[in-house]
């Protein structure tokens, strides 16, 4: 279904002919997405979701406003994305136009004194970080890495990451917002609502952050957030992180009196959990994350040797696993996490180190020796502080999703959930990669007490239909197991992929038990009366009307 020429011309008049296209291969480049092959009822197993009817590249808030008004006028649905990594960036169904916000990419302001930045949608975390560091500040980076949008992660998607214990979750760091509402009106929230600057989320202007942001964000179908102010934190390091090393094994050498990476590991999961609580209560650490276990507790040591040595490749895994060094390291690295300490002063770092040592002593833990190697120290600091290697999720097989585990307290992990996740993954190997425990994620960012948000990674081959099916089945079984426990499902990524592209009624049936669903649907009906925002995962048909009928 192509757009009517009248509609196309109206949109073309807004952005100019060079910023709109219906060219088929270009439309396909937006339909192609990670995980498409798993949503088989929509894609038939292909890599392509539905094509948008046209793609527009607006250059300003005025362009966006005019496009949304045109959508309301012609009753055309729009979808929008910033950096566009993931199935939620593709249009949820045919008949919709897509806005690619890549031209809206500026850093409007970095306010050094009040420690915040104002950014547009296509400014990525790596860019903001580079500029923030020049004035002694730093920004949260989503778990998806520094190549993703600061704005989207804060306002329109989940957006957590390894640094949340120190930086706090991005949704807690949003200050004023500029939002083009689903009707095309512009709403500026917080202090910006009264034209008093970007510094405050709540008043004297209106605060509608809960509506704009919600629990997970509107994922491209809920107006367009065109600017946000976001809180920054202190950075005691150099204005530019020095990068060394041969591609791809880059490293950074930072002042030892301010920076230290540790790999705490523990003799049991209960000790592991105890340490997490103590770390949280002690308020030490800049980044606390279970990162490298994403490669599996059986392979993480071998993988670390490969990614830090430019002469090595994945074909070296079998040989590495045979070496006594890697066997010992693999054993040591069970039940470990990555812990980055950043001291605002040398005394601060010394204090953090002392507290960590004490926690390890009390919990019987140890710091894995490999992290004391200079090259490893420098690699891990670079990895965790810049999150510049996050496409590493795809290194092993070209595809991954998550299953089983999700948000839980450390005690839950210690109660056997890590082993249960591992057993689930083992059940589906070798159709998925056989790596062991792959429960990875941030520590301490999901509320008080060190509550974690972990995912069991499922590595699958996206061009192998058996492997793809096994991954989907594994994720589904994880959800069923969690449902039986009365806990939230763990396969968030795959779940969002499916619900984003599901039929509205199917989605509504799935979500009808959610207490927030009806509230969000009512907001949608009120603020988007023509329903021109694309369907997405948190709203769909009004089932109550059907039931009443």
């Amino acid at each position: 279904m192509a757009l009517l020429s009248e509609v196309y011309e109206a949109l073309e008049n807004i952005v100019g002919p060079e910023n709109i296209t219906e060219e088929p291969a270009t439309l396909d480049s937006y339909a192609y997405q990670w995980m498409a092959e798993l949503v088989t009822d929509v894609t038939g197993g292909s890599k392509f979701f539905d094509r948008p009817e046209a793609v527009l590249v607006p250059g300003s808030v005025e362009d966006v406003q005019a496009i949304i008004k045109a959508c309301n006028q012609y009753k055309i649905k729009y979808h929008v994305f910033s950096t566009g990594w993931g199935p939620w960036a593709a249009v949820p169904s045919a008949g919709q136009i897509l806005m690619d916000l890549r031209r809206m990419n500026r850093i409007i302001e970095i306010n050094e004194q009040n420690m915040f930045a104002v950014v547009e949608p296509y400014c990525v975390a790596a860019q903001l970080q580079a500029e923030a560091m020049k004035v002694g500040l730093n920004n949260h980076i989503s778990g998806a890495g520094s190549g993703t949008s600061v704005l989207a992660n804060a306002c329109t998607f989940q957006g957590g990451g390894p640094d949340v214990m120190y930086f706090s979750s991005p949704q807690d760091s949003i200050l004023s917002i500029e939002w083009v509402m689903p009707t095309g009106e512009i709403l500026r929230t917080g202090s910006m609502g009264s034209d008093l600057g970007w510094f405050c989320a709540e008043g004297p202007g209106p605060s509608t952050q809960g509506i704009i942001r919600g629990s997970l964000g509107g994922a491209g179908g809920w107006g367009v957030v065109t600017k946000i102010a976001i809180r920054l934190v202190n950075w005691p390091g150099p204005v530019q992180m020095p990068i060394e090393g041969t591609a791809p094994s880059y490293r950074t050498q930072l002042p030892e009196e301010n920076f230290k990476a540790a790999f705490p590991a523990f003799p049991s999961l209960q000790r592991f959990a105890d340490a997490i609580y103590r770390i949280y209560d002690s308020e030490i650490g800049y980044i606390v994350h279970r990162q490298f276990v994403m490669w599996g507790d059986e392979l993480q040591a071998a993988f670390l040797r490969i990614v830090t040595d430019p002469t090595k490749q994945l074909c070296d895994i079998p040989e590495l696993l045979e070496t006594p060094e890697i066997q010992q390291l693999t054993k040591e690295m069970q039940r470990n996490f990555q812990f980055i300490m950043v001291g605002m002063t040398p005394r601060d770092l010394a204090y953090q180190q002392k507290v960590l040592d004490q926690i390890l002593k009390e919990t019987g833990g140890w710091n894995i020796s490999i992290i004391e190697e200079p090259d490893m120290q420098q690699y891990v600091l670079l990895f965790m502080l810049k999150l510049c290697f996050k496409s590493v999720n795809f290194t092993a097989t070209g595809g991954f999703i998550d299953t089983y585990n999700s948000v839980a307290s450390p005690d839950v992990w210690a109660s056997g959930e890590i082993e249960a996740g591992k057993a689930l993954l083992k059940k589906y190997a070798p159709k998925i990669a056989d790596c062991g425990d792959q429960a990875m994620g941030p520590i301490g960012g999901q509320g008080g007490g060190g509550v974690t948000g972990w995912e069991d990674f499922v590595f699958y081959d996206p061009q192998d239909s058996d492997s793809s099916k096994a991954a989907a089945d594994c994720s589904d079984e994880g959800d069923r197991l969690k449902a039986a426990q009365g806990r939230p499902p763990g396969g968030m990524l795959f779940g969002l992929a499916r619900s984003t592209h599901a039929d509205e009624e199917v989605r509504a049936k799935k979500l009808s038990k959610s207490p927030e669903y009806n509230w969000q649907r009512k907001l949608k009906e009120t603020l988007d009366p023509n329903s021109v925002g694309s369907g997405n995962y948190f709203w769909g048909a009004d089932l109550s009307k059907e039931e009443n009928n």
Partner: protein
């Protein structure tokens, strides 16, 4: 490997968009974080490496047609500079963005789909053995009066391959002429092919015309064999890439290939080239794509992809990685730094993640505006270092920079590294 054979690889792109940026570890500012000129200029996703991978899949699955309006633009409006390849391979061992984009071009040309602006260039190449729209008879004129061995008549150990750009661009003739003087002064047994020098075929290969490339490669190899050549020295980075990487991929190739910077370094180390004059200047060095990340030597491999631990993808035997690590980066910098009085400062994007000059892959010929914009971006970056001159080691880069500077009324000077050497001896 044909495009069809790369289908599985194409399907494994995760669309992470790393191909649009320099390797994220190296991002030093908002301004110079981007790595791909094509998507920066053309905006739509299809103009990135990942977009061209999905375009390939779309074509292979019959979702798009080779004859769709606009497809030619998507496929060919790119320098094939390879920054995407470097950034992608920071974490991926199984993807080959540049190779896939090359094969996509070959496939398009095989289907008769090419930019209409190619016609005069390809016609001229077929008639006159160059795409500079110049007469073949004039190819050796730069060497008039230099008394250099003509290797179509004589034999020598070393052939100095000047390349199309420096052979026909009179403004740049000083470069090959200086090389001749240096080689003579060092007592090197060398010669040139003069008017019978052929195009290396590297540029036309990147443009998608594989047949033309094979023809020129075969002709050049025969000519060098007949002249008893053991070593090929070239001032052209396109030529260096063709001889060092493309020729051995297709033919039995037993010649030593040296870019002039490598040869100059050898002469400096042997004490045959000494700098006696001071050149007081603050300069920055631009890494030509085909000397740097795409200049890695060919490494033969025959093997297959396998899976271990269930689904982990590996190559057996170990497959050579072309990720920019083995390009030529330090040699030109060492030469510049060894010239008395010169201060070398780096641009933010350098070495394997340098921004392209805009001249490669046929873009200068097909899309001059885009080519000029790309060069202009690089000049902006050079200016930000405070340098008064940009130095490079490729005639194509120099010409593009000179044109961009003239268009923008900038005052920055452009030097080939050979120019600087000439000033210092």
């Amino acid at each position: 490997m044909a495009l069809e054979d790369l289908r599985a690889t194409v399907s494994r792109c995760s669309k992470c968009s790393y191909c649009k940026w320099i390797p994220l570890a190296h991002v030093k500012s908002w301004r110079f974080a981007k790595g791909c000129p094509s998507i920066e200029y053309n905006k739509f996703q299809s103009y990135s490496a990942s977009g061209r991978l999905s375009t390939s899949l779309s074509l292979l699955e019959g979702r798009s047609s080779y004859f769709d309006e606009g497809l030619v633009d998507i496929v060919f409006k790119c320098m094939l500079d390879g920054c995407c390849d470097v950034a992608c391979k920071v974490n991926r061992y199984d993807l080959e963005p540049v190779e896939i984009m090359r094969q996509l071009r070959f496939k398009m040309i095989d289907n008769g789909c090419f930019p209409p602006m190619d016609v005069p260039y390809i016609d001229h190449l077929r008639k006159e053995d160059n795409m500079m729209l110049e007469s073949k008879a004039d190819r050796g004129k730069w060497a008039d009066g230099l008394d250099v061995k003509d290797l179509t008549q004589e034999k020598a150990d070393v052939v100095f391959h000047v390349g199309c750009k420096l052979s026909f661009d009179k403004d740049l003739w000083k470069i090959p002429q200086t090389v001749v003087a240096i080689l003579k002064n060092a007592g090197v047994d060398f010669g040139i092919m003069g008017k019978d020098e052929n195009c290396c075929g590297g540029r036309v290969c990147d443009m998608g015309y594989r047949g033309e490339f094979l023809k020129y490669a075969e002709n050049n190899i025969d000519a060098w064999k007949n002249a008893g050549v053991k070593t090929i020295v070239t001032t052209c980075s396109d030529g260096y890439h063709a001889f060092n990487r493309l020729y051995p991929e297709e033919f039995e190739f037993n010649f030593e290939v040296l870019h002039i910077t490598q040869y100059l370094e050898r002469l400096i180390n042997e004490g045959k080239l000494k700098f006696t004059k001071t050149v007081p200047m603050k300069v920055t060095y631009h890494d030509p794509c085909h000397l740097g990340r795409r200049g890695e030597p060919y490494m033969p491999w025959k093997g297959e992809q396998k899976k271990i631990r269930g689904q982990v993808l590996v190559y057996e035997p170990r497959k050579p990685r072309y990720n920019g690590a083995l390009g030529i980066y330090d040699i030109p910098r060492n030469i510049i730094k060894s010239i008395p009085g010169i201060e070398l400062v780096e641009m933010e994007r350098n070495r394997e993640y340098a921004w392209c000059c805009g001249a490669g892959g046929g873009v200068r010929e097909r899309y001059p505006e885009f080519s000029g914009w790309t060069a202009g971006e690089r000049i902006e970056e050079a200016k930000s270092t405070g340098a008064e001159a940009i130095v490079t080691a490729c005639g194509w880069c120099e010409r593009n920079f000179i044109d961009a500077i003239n268009d923008q009324n900038e005052s920055m000077k452009v030097y080939d590294i050979v120019d600087l050497v000439a000033e210092a001896i």
